[in-house]
Point group: C2
Chain length 269, copies 2
């Protein structure tokens, strides 16, 4: 007979009580090869047609197995090239010092975080637009709905790799006619805290709410996210003297290359 090595183990036609679908068995086998190192990180896995031959199934079944691994974030695919085991990316840690001024950032090395801002490797694609406040935004700014806001949409890249997608708002009144309203000034040294400071507004408190979800297709494309990688969402609200002076409704981070760090001063028991 022909070689019965790999294929026939997955061709069980016996109706077992808890028989696993073949695409899952194939996914398990490929996962095993990757985690065991038989397929090293970054290397191509066998092509769909050769897997079709090896496991003796239709191509659709192979593609379903690969979909499982893609959803787990274990492999990624490039059209025309192939599918390969996903290499681990360097993670960028974003700590509280990202809201400090440049000088303080340099002095704070306790977290091991580094500042990329204005170091040449950080690039920001900024689009500013005037929009009417939605009821939610109006309530946060304590203004009437419809009040004009300056909407800032930013795509931040480090070393050419997209890292952050931000949608944020200022009250137009507070920034109109100032350098802050100029999108070409991004990236602004010190970020939005420094922008507000240049207007004489001293930030007293920032509150962030962190969530996670799967990206939309648009976000996945903008951040070049492989399938199976969620996004971290941070919603920011910036206060000065108890009033809200800035709101970021969604800062979107690729979860495979970003993590957020916070400090809680706990001398309040």
């Amino acid at each position: 007979m022909a070689d019965e090595s790999t294929a026939d183990r997955y061709r069980e036609r016996v109706p077992a009580p808890h028989r696993q679908p073949r695409y899952r068995a194939i996914a398990d086998e490929l996962r095993r090869r990757i985690t065991a190192g038989a397929i090293p990180a970054g290397a191509l896995i066998p092509s769909e047609s050769s897997l079709t031959a090896e496991f003796r199934v239709a191509r659709g079944t192979i593609r379903e197995a690969i979909n499982v691994l893609r959803a787990e974030g274990l492999v990624m695919t490039e059209h025309g090239r192939g599918t390969y085991a996903r290499p681990n990316l360097p993670v960028r840690r974003l700590g509280p010092e990202r809201y400090m001024s440049q000088r303080q950032q340099d002095g704070d090395e306790t977290t091991g975080a580094r500042s990329f801002r204005n170091s040449g490797v950080e690039q920001v694609n900024a689009e500013y637009q005037e929009v009417a406040a939605t009821p939610e935004l109006a309530e946060m700014f304590e203004v009437e709905p419809g009040t004009v806001l300056l909407q800032r949409r930013l795509l931040t890249s480090v070393y050419g790799v997209p890292q952050q997608l931000t949608t944020a708002y200022y009250l137009l009144d507070t920034v109109a006619g100032t350098p802050v309203a100029d999108p070409n000034r991004e990236p602004w040294p010190g970020g939005h805290v420094a922008q507000l400071q240049s207007l004489g507004i001293l930030v007293t408190k920032i509150r962030e709410v962190v969530q996670a979800r799967m990206p939309t297709i648009d976000e996945a494309e903008a951040l070049r996210l492989p399938a199976g990688v969620p996004v971290l969402i941070a919603n920011r609200r910036t206060y000065a003297d108890g009033r809200t002076v800035e709101v970021a409704t969604s800062m979107v981070f690729p979860a495979d290359r970003a993590e957020l760090e916070y400090e809680i001063p706990a001398d309040l028991t």
Copy 2:
């Protein structure tokens, strides 16, 4: 040249410069219906066969469109029943006050967060175990690798719904023989900060690093996570007088029902 079959294939194609694949257009349309409320949360979307009839495509194309929505966490599917828009679960917001004592929590209503602790609706399944410190843990506690730690594994449920999976460590020396080492005392009023306080240790600072990823199969089962929902991971390090007194290597939250809130005092510019 295949003339008949080729003409057949293009029978309903719109000549567009950036033609979108059919399955993505269908996914967009279904997403629009769900987000616009035409399909309310929790309701079944049309069956695959009726969508096949509506969009005049093969069933595989419909299934691919639904896969897109499932990967976004927008819908979930039950074998034999159908596919429905994922209902929005009540979201539990975890703010900094979760590390405060009970009295302060009651007085702090600025965030709208509520305390479930010891109110009867919060239940904790606790397993304590003595383990040897790994090199990483030993470095954080500034002890020799192999030093015995008390490992706490907690599954927290609110109203019977799993909410949090925690693995945390104390130095065994600091807690051995005290009520803190008794897993039956969970849930402890005031959490680990109060536990340390009962030992005379005053927490001065807590640092948390937040990440997100897809759950492992074990986590998905323990937290009863549907497909397409990531988990939020918080790594906590608790300090007293500059020394690390507690480490939580992974607090796992289901991202569809939890969000984390932090405050950054920004009077440091």
